[in-house]
Symmetry: C2
Subunit: 365 residues, 2 copies
């Protein structure tokens, strides 16, 4: 894209990023959380940063159908917090110590279990359990916080109660159930041998884990923008966003395998050690020789794999074409997604949606 357009797009993205951060961290919300360490925890990942890709697609979708995107800000903020609680709980499940380059919630409470009460000391197992316990509760609070933000569509932004309730129900049933089902499959796949899974199994799991929430972002933005529950634009934006979401996750899986720590915000190889069955690994494995298969299997799901083993596996994944195939698949999904944009009126927001989709698969690795 021309560099002027590119600059404008990133400026637009950045502006919305700030709207969302300010909305989320408003004292009327933050003041609700107590004690102090819970207030820290529920806002931590938001303060750590993040690209706010979900809020952006929601706001752009609202604008693209001719709506006033400021009306949709509570939904965009809600989606970001909704995504955040799933990260906090997933980080417990994946035993990830880092997120966005800083300590995950459970890890922070484990490291500083004595943040409060200051006068106690715990054996290491107890401290770890304390970390997990407080992180579970942190995610629970954030879940409720997201729903509470959604109610502000009606109470502060003039969206009809009917649409507001419909969106709340959608988010907390269809999206939530799909997302958790994807997470359950992800956990179960990590305990299964690679050969037991097809690429379709893995892509369906990715769609559930990520695509459903992106789809919701498109749909919610368009519904708010149109003030209607049904309209061809709503369908078009939903399909667009769902495909982009899956493409995003494919790209994320590539970064999770080969990205450096600075880019991905967590130690190199942690997805491999955790045994994540990504498409990258799947395709590479298909093309692997017997000795390469042995190398990959020895690291996948082995929390004790050392750095040199990890490095060798990453090189094998590159050499065997796993990364190239998955990146191409992500690009194909994006092209398919962009076709849906033709159904929308031509305007600045539609152009940003297109740029946003390209950005999904151009992220560095």
């Amino acid at each position: 894209m021309p560099s002027n357009d590119r600059r404008e797009f990133f400026t637009a993205l950045d502006r919305r990023c700030k709207w969302i951060k300010n909305y989320i961290l408003h004292p009327r919300f933050v003041g609700r959380f107590s004690p102090a360490e819970i207030q820290w925890a529920v806002t931590a990942y938001v303060r750590y940063g993040g690209k706010r890709l979900r809020p952006a697609i929601l706001l752009f979708s609202c604008g693209a159908v001719g709506g006033d995107e400021r009306q949709a800000i509570p939904a965009a903020a809600a989606v970001e917090i909704f995504h955040t609680w799933t990260l906090v709980h997933d980080d417990i499940i994946d035993r990830d110590p880092m997120r966005r380059g800083q300590a995950t919630v459970h890890q922070r409470f484990f490291d500083h279990y004595d943040m409060k009460p200051a006068d106690c000391s715990l054996p290491v197992d107890e401290a770890r359990h304390y970390g997990v316990s407080l992180a579970i509760l942190t995610g629970d609070i954030q879940h409720g916080w997201g729903i509470s933000m959604m109610t502000e569509l009606a109470t502060r932004r003039g969206v009809t109660s009917d649409i507001t309730l419909k969106l709340i129900d959608d988010l907390d049933t269809y999206v939530l159930n799909t997302l958790v089902e994807g997470e359950v499959l992800d956990i179960q796949y990590s305990h299964q041998p690679l050969e037991a899974l097809t690429p379709e199994d893995i892509e369906t799991m990715l769609w559930k884990k990520t695509g459903a929430l992106y789809q919701f972002c498109g749909r919610a933005g368009a519904m708010i923008g149109l003030g209607k529950r049904k309209h061809p634009y709503i369908e078009a934006v939903s399909e667009f966003a769902a495909l982009c979401g899956t493409a995003f996750q494919l790209q994320d899986d590539i970064l999770g395998v080969v990205g450096n720590q600075e880019v991905i915000g967590k130690p190199v190889g942690s997805d491999l050690r955790e045994g994540k069955k990504t498409l990258v690994v799947h395709y590479a494995y298909q093309n692997a020789s017997l000795s390469e298969k042995k190398l990959i299997s020895g690291v996948l799901g082995n929390p004790k794999a050392d750095e040199s083993q990890i490095r060798r596996v990453i090189q094998a994944l590159r050499d065997l074409g796993g990364i190239k195939i998955v990146n191409q698949r992500a690009k194909d999904l994006i092209a398919k997604a962009q076709n849906y944009l033709q159904a929308l009126p031509e305007n600045q927001y539609r152009a940003w949606l297109k740029q946003w989709a390209d950005y999904m698969v151009q992220r560095e690795f």
Copy 2:
């Protein structure tokens, strides 16, 4: 109370218990959950039984202010499921293996981690982590399920969208935050020495953990019944329910210490082993001799305490008057609560609310 009234009250309670169970287990909800083991898990505690005390107070409150309690059923069912997800997560946090006489969710997934995939076997630590992971996700789904049920007030029962949204916001901010704050304090108190806590600290924690949700039940029932957001009846029922909730929790703490396994549905002494700082323990400790203090401290928070130690501590708690003082405190709260009922019109529902309150502190121990 006369035995006729008593029979009628329990019949009324039982009928509502069935309404709620049928509503919750309706195929339109249960069909949403997948894979099969998650469908099992999200409905498990409801199928295990339970007294549905919270739904009952919500429905009675609706009737007491002159409303049609059938209109309030989605809220009553939502409150039961909301309570259920907090149990699933609390059971992870408290490491309880049993609930209502059967396996807790995390324990069940740990014992039968191979429910699916059937062809894998895991080391014990991995199986335990699998159990915790799936129980976290189970509670998350139930949280969303509860909110989705609340939306049915408007979409299926003719409650205004305005009141429906207000109740959703109340439940997922004020009630949720208060409840989680209580749970965080409970965890932190369990790591503090008994001497560091006052009875007020403990009772405030109990109020947060339990009273806030009961208060919501009274308020929600009255708001739905009146079709209004403000009314003196709403205040009266809220205060009544909040006090009953705290009394209920005090009685529950007594049962948790001295109830037999059949009544409480979990192993005798588990609250002591977990280190729960109950008022029973607090008051007994105040009256204890140095050797009794040593006995109590040796068991409290000691997961390895054996049965004979547990039995001796329970006897000491009885002998030192801890149980008697707390039971009296619960009765005082109930008496105070019942005063608020005077503000309501005299009718059958008001009588049931009174009987319900008495039942709170008469539960067997």
